[in-house]
Structure formats: C-alpha cells, structure tokens
C-alpha cells in the first residue's frame, strides 16, 4: 500500500489543483463584471446591463464550485497535515483567518445582492456590491498567497521548542505579510487570474461572433475582455521576471530545478525547450547561453548555484517535472502576449471581428491561462520540495500522526468521484448557459441574435 505521505500529497495536490480552476476565473471575471456594470452606469445602455446580468449568472456558477471546493482546502490542513498545522498555526493560521473574515465574508455576503438584488436595491448599491464581490475575491488571493509565500520565504518568526515539539512563533506581523516573495508572487497570481477571467469572456464572445449571435453585445464583451487581457499579458512579463528573480535569490535549489542546472561552477543557460535527465544530471534543449546567469547576477558569464550544491535530501527530486511545468508556463505567457497584441492591433484597424481564424483561436484560448496558472503552481510547489516550509519543515514530517493509509484512500476515492461529477456538471451547465446566451432587451438598436429574431418573426407571423 502506498505510504500515508504520498497519498496525502496526492490528495492535497488533486484537491487544490481542482479548486484552482475556479478562483482565478472568479477574480478575473469579477474585474470584468465591474467594468461591464460600470459601463452600464456610465452610458446607460441597456445592452451593458444585459451582459452584466449574463456574466453574473456565470460568475455565480463558478463561485459556487469555488467555495464548495475551497472549504475542503481549509480543513484539509488539519485532517491530513496536523503537524504542519501545529507548526505554522501561529503564522499561517492568522493569514487564513484574515482571509475568511476580510475577504470571503465580503464576497459571499454581497453575492446574494448581486444575484437576487436587481429589483431590491438601487443601481448604485448594486454596482457597489459588484465591486465588493470583485474586491473580496482579490483579497482572498492576497491572504492565501501571503500564507503560501511565507512557506516559500519565511520571515518574521522564531522557532520555539525542539524536535517534534518545535513550532514557528510570529515576531513581526508585517514582516510576515511582506515576506520577500509575497508581493511579487501576489501580483503574478492576481494577473494570472485576470488572464483566466478575461479569456473566458473573450472565448464566449468570440463564439457568439462566429455564430453571428448577439453580435453587438458579443463585441462589447470581447472589447472588455481584450482590454483586461492585453494589459495583464504584458504586465505578467514584468511580475514573472520579478518572481523568477526572488526565486534565484531565496530558493536557489528551486531555480536550478526550473532550468535543470546542476553544476555550480558553470555559467547557466536559459532554455526555451528542453529535457532534464535527473539520473545523469544532464539537460538538453534549445537555450539562450548565459541566460540564467544574467537573470541571477546581471552578467552572462557568472556561475550560478546548481542542484549539485545541495545534498540529495535537500533538493527537489522531480527536476524534469519542475523544468517542464515552468517552461510550459513561460511559453504560454509569451504566446498570450503575441495573441492579445495581434488582436488589439486588428481592433485598432477595425478588422478584428471579421477575422474568423483569430476568433476561433480565441474560443479555444480560454484553456491557455488555465493551464499556465496550473503548471506555474505545480512548478512553485514541487520545486519547494522536500520542504513544506522552505528550510524549516519537511513535507514528510508534517503529516497527521494518527491518520492511516486506508483512511486517506477512502477520502481520495471519495474526492475523485465527487470532483469528476462536479466537473461534468459544471461544464454541462456552463455550456448550457453559454448556448442560451444573455437575455437581451428587445428593440435595442441591432442586437442581432439570429435565433431570437427568427422567433420574434415567427411570433409576429
């Protein structure tokens, strides 16, 4: 039977990866909702209200599953990682509690108004609620990323006690909050979420444009999405660079794994694509010579600390996995910049919406930020191994002592079944909502949903 450690890691990885499909969409969509409803209040055009209502319904669906799978995460720290909970509770617990009380409460409290409050509150209060929901979803990311960043680059603590009784005690709250990696990683995560949400909006809009449904509304949605996505894609270059820089400074073993670099005395290249053989310590692929040296030291000729500088027990063993996930993220990021800039250029030339090929790419491109967000986290988390708190607590020491393998198998099977069902239902209902489309107010200039026009004609005839 597999060990409790490996089972608990699989379970945590599976449940968090599944959960993380949803929060980035809520965060990104939340921003798009604020823009759409803001445009409605500013222009007074009914069309913007209709698309806002449409996207709020989709937001609620995504949010619902995000909450349901998110509560699992909170409790899983205690169920499977009791030693970890005791070790970090003094620090991690306060970030998690702050998330609940400041962020999640804001989001959940105002979501009811967003969904059911259209006729009960004024336009201004409704818009305010939309902003609160969007802010709440971002604040959640703030506290969660701070907590996770503390695990990557712990500061503002002392260790009290020894051996299995040891635990981290907070000494400076703000030093914990502003630990060396938190702000770079936070901006990287939030912007990644903006990309996820805006690409969903553009994907749906592009599909309507291809199908010639709700064309005016779809173009409006697309523009909102494209505006967010273009800025976000470019900004991600900057935050990504900053994040890589902090890794080079504080987690050299992770950086070495990301680029498959073993020999500390050598100049380190940066790979475009490649393959790492962890047995022989060789990495092959297309590379920029001295690229990693430049990132780390600002010079193409400086040697970079390699994996061999660390004892085998203190460095990640899944090097190729860290390497590949990291590089997939970067390749997608570059592609998204090219894609959004092309679209923006064509929009400026007023040729965008007639490019069927580009619209088709956008329909499918919704997958790309999702994949990039996922693999980026895989790389960050697997690259931190064998530590759960970098340099302080090993993952293998962090388990719940009394939990047995068969219990974890039970819960893992349970979650696998439930989450599969959840994903199928989510995709089915999302698809249904998209196919149904927004309820457009009739007689508005030329909101040309061919289907509804036909229906109206039939009704009149």
């Amino acid at each position: 039977m597999p060990s409790v450690e490996i089972l608990s890691r699989i379970q945590f990885a599976f449940t968090i990866a599944f959960h993380y499909i949803y929060p980035p969409l809520s965060i990104g969509l939340g921003l798009c909702l604020v823009i759409m409803e803001g445009l409605y209040l500013r222009t007074g055009k009914k069309m913007y209200e209709d698309i806002t209502r449409f996207w709020i319904k989709i937001f609620a669906l995504i949010f619902g599953i995000g909450v349901a799978t998110g509560i699992v995460m909170e409790f899983e720290f205690g169920t499977n990682w009791a030693v970890y909970s005791r070790y970090v509770g003094d620090i991690f617990g306060s970030a998690l509690a702050a998330e609940g009380i400041f962020a999640f409460a804001l989001e959940s409290g105002f979501l009811g108004i967003l969904l059911f409050g259209w006729n009960r509150v004024s336009k201004g209060v409704h818009f305010f609620s939309t902003i609160m929901v969007a802010l709440g979803s971002m604040f959640s990311a703030v506290w969660i990323v701070i907590a996770n960043s503390w695990q990557q680059t712990p500061t503002g603590y002392v260790i009290e006690g020894e051996g299995m009784q040891a635990r981290a005690i907070i000494t400076d709250f703000w030093e914990m909050v502003f630990n060396p990696s938190s702000m770079d990683r936070l901006s990287h995560v939030i912007i990644g979420a903006f990309l996820a949400g805006s690409f969903l909006v553009m994907s749906v809009a592009a599909w309507y444009i291809i199908k010639k449904r709700f064309v005016t509304a779809a173009q409006a949605m697309f523009k909102v999405g494209l505006c967010v996505a273009t800025i976000a894609a470019l900004a991600q270059l900057f935050t990504g660079h900053r994040s890589a820089h902090y890794v080079s400074k504080y987690q050299p073993a992770k950086l070495a794994a990301m680029e498959g670099h073993y020999d500390s005395s050598a100049v380190a290249p940066m790979y475009i694509v490649g393959w790492v053989d962890n047995k022989t310590g060789k990495t092959t692929g297309i590379k920029i010579p001295g690229g990693l040296s430049f990132l780390t030291h600002g010079s193409f000729n400086a040697p970079v600390t390699g994996l061999n500088a660390f004892p085998k027990a203190d460095r990640p063993s899944a090097v190729n996995f860290v390497f590949q996930t990291y590089h997939i993220m970067i390749s997608i990021g570059m592609f998204l910049i090219a894609l959004t800039l092309t679209a923006t250029f064509l929009l400026w030339k007023k040729k965008l919406f007639s490019q069927k090929w580009l619209m088709t790419i956008f329909v499918w491109a919704v997958m790309l930020p999702q994949i990039a967000n996922q693999v980026g986290w895989y790389s960050a988390e697997v690259g931190r191994q064998p530590w759960v708190v970098y340099g302080l607590l090993r993952t293998s020491d962090a388990l719940s002592k009394e939990v047995k393998a068969e219990q974890v198998i039970f819960s893992l099977v349970l979650f696998s079944l439930v989450y599969t069902l959840l994903l199928v239902l989510f995709l089915y209902l999302l698809n249904k909502k998209i196919v149904h489309g927004p309820e457009m107010t009739p007689n508005e200039e030329d909101d040309s949903d061919e289907f509804s026009k036909r229906n109206i004609k039939q009704l009149q005839a």
């Binding site: 669906l61 205690g78 907070i170």
Partner: protein
Amino acid sequence: METILGIDLPTLWFLVIGGLITGYGVLDGFDLGAGALHLFFNKEESRRIALNAIGPVWDGNEVWLVISGGALFAGFPLLYGTILSTFYVPFMLFLVALIFRAISIEFRSKETMAWWRKMWDISYMASSTLITLLLGLILGNLIHGLPFNEKHEFTGNLLTFFNPYSILIAFTTLSLFMLHGAIYLVMKTENRLYAKLTVLVNNCSKFFILCFILASMSTLIYIPHMTDQFKEYPWLFAIPLLAVLTVLNIKRNIDSRKYFTAFVFSSCITAMLLILFAIGLYPNIIISTTDPANSISIYHAASSPKALRIMLLIAAIGTPLVLSYTIFVFWTFRGKVKLNEMSY
C-alpha cells in the same frame, strides 16, 4: 500571564471562537434545518419558495464556518490539527456533504426535468441532514471524551464515535436546527405553505423538547465532568435554568403564532446550549477518557501571546464588518419570499 480586562489571552480567544461557532450555529442552523425539512414540501412551487427563502443568505451563513475554522487554526493550532485528524472520516463526509449541498442549491433550478429537480431535492435534504448530524456527532464526542494517549494521539477507531451519548447529541442538534429552520421558513412564507409550516413547526418543537430533555438528563447522569464547573460556581446554574425557560418560551410563542419572537428564542437556545458546553469543557477542549493528563487544554494548545493579540485585533476589526453586511443582506431580503425570474 498577560490579561485583557482581567481575562487571559487563551480564554479570550476561546470566547471569540465560541462566539463565531455560535454565529455559525444560529445562522447556518436555520438553513441547514430548512434543508432537512425540504422533502416535507410536496409541490414544486413550495420547494422553490423554501429554497429561495435561504437563497440569498446561505452562502453568507457558511462564511461563519470558514471563519470559525480559521480562528481555531490560528488560536489553537494543536487542537485544530488534533480534532480534524481525529475525526478524519466524519470530517471528510462533512466536506463532501457541504459540496453536495452547495451544488444542489445551485444546480436544481438549472433544468426543468422532474427527475433532475427531484434528484437535487433529495441530495439537498440528505446533505443538510448529514451535515447537521455529523456536527452533532463531533460535538457529542468532544463532550463525552475520547481515548487519547500521552502524545495526544487518538487511539480509538471509527466505531468509537458512535457511542449512544454522541448519537443522542447528533439527533438533538438535528431537532434543534429543524425547529430553527421551520420557524425561519414560516416567517418567510404565506398562504397554504404557511399553513402547512405552522403544523410542521409544532411537530418540530415537540421533537426538539423531547431531545432536549433526553440530552439534558443524559449529560447530568453520564457525563460527570460537564457538571464540575457548575458545582464550583453555583451561580452558573442560572444558565441551564434560563435555557429551560427559553425552550418553554419558544413553545409559547409558536402557540400564539409570534414567529419572529420564537426565532429570536430559538437563536438564543442555540447559543445557550453552546455556552453550556463551553462552560462544561473549559479549559479543556479535547478530553481524554484514558487519562485526564492526556487531555488538551486551551493553554496547552494556544498560539503565542503575540499571535493571539494580532488575531484579537483582526477579529475586532473584522467581526463588526461581517455583522454589518450580514445585517445589510438580511434587511435587503426581508419579508415574504416572492419568486421572480432571477430566483432558483
């Protein structure tokens, strides 16, 4: 030890967590109870009204669970890890039930097929009932005590949890939430559904009073450590006395159809029962039945004084905020439920 207003920090934090759990019990209690009663309504429209009565608020109510969990993690990490890993299987079922409940509410209205709606109705009722029973079972076991060794590790198994006392507490919790939920629904409905609910409320109150008497007697007879504090501070007996009066008041207000007052009292009884348990347990939370020395007290499990001070500040800023949007949302959706195109 450092104190604020003469109360030491772990005790203060114990009170904060108690307050948050009470908030969860009072708020999510009624929507869980409404869920447990769901299949008593036969007509599609009645079920929709019942669902929409909790529609805008249940999500906000569940926030109190998340905050309570976070507060326990932050204030008493050892207890957080121990309780959750000890009740591993019950908590996993609890989490899965929470998922099913959330999606039942969300997905039910998305299709019109009768089988689809029926399936989610059953899932909604079953998950609400299961969540309530599991919460009661876990609470019952905490009161009853469990076998822990000198390293504070649980030495029992899944069957250990199913002792008669804990099962009784599980059903008492269910009866309390069903009553609480029924009173809430009767306030939100009119006409025939209202008439039906008035009967249901009456039956729920009888079920609850029966469970309340049984649970009180069993605690007095079989759980001696729960009464130790009361023997030491006899004035504390005022609380159980008040609880009995509250229960009688709920019945009296239901009989005279003052449902809002009844709801206030059913909220009070939820709070009072939790207060009674808190007094009985204090300063322990985990009680070891093998050796009292293996119990875990709040002093043993507390985070550092600095962390507790930071957390108190966060709670002092955050709780009024959460309360204010809770009140705002309840105020916005006050009155009887009316179905419209945005409803579930």
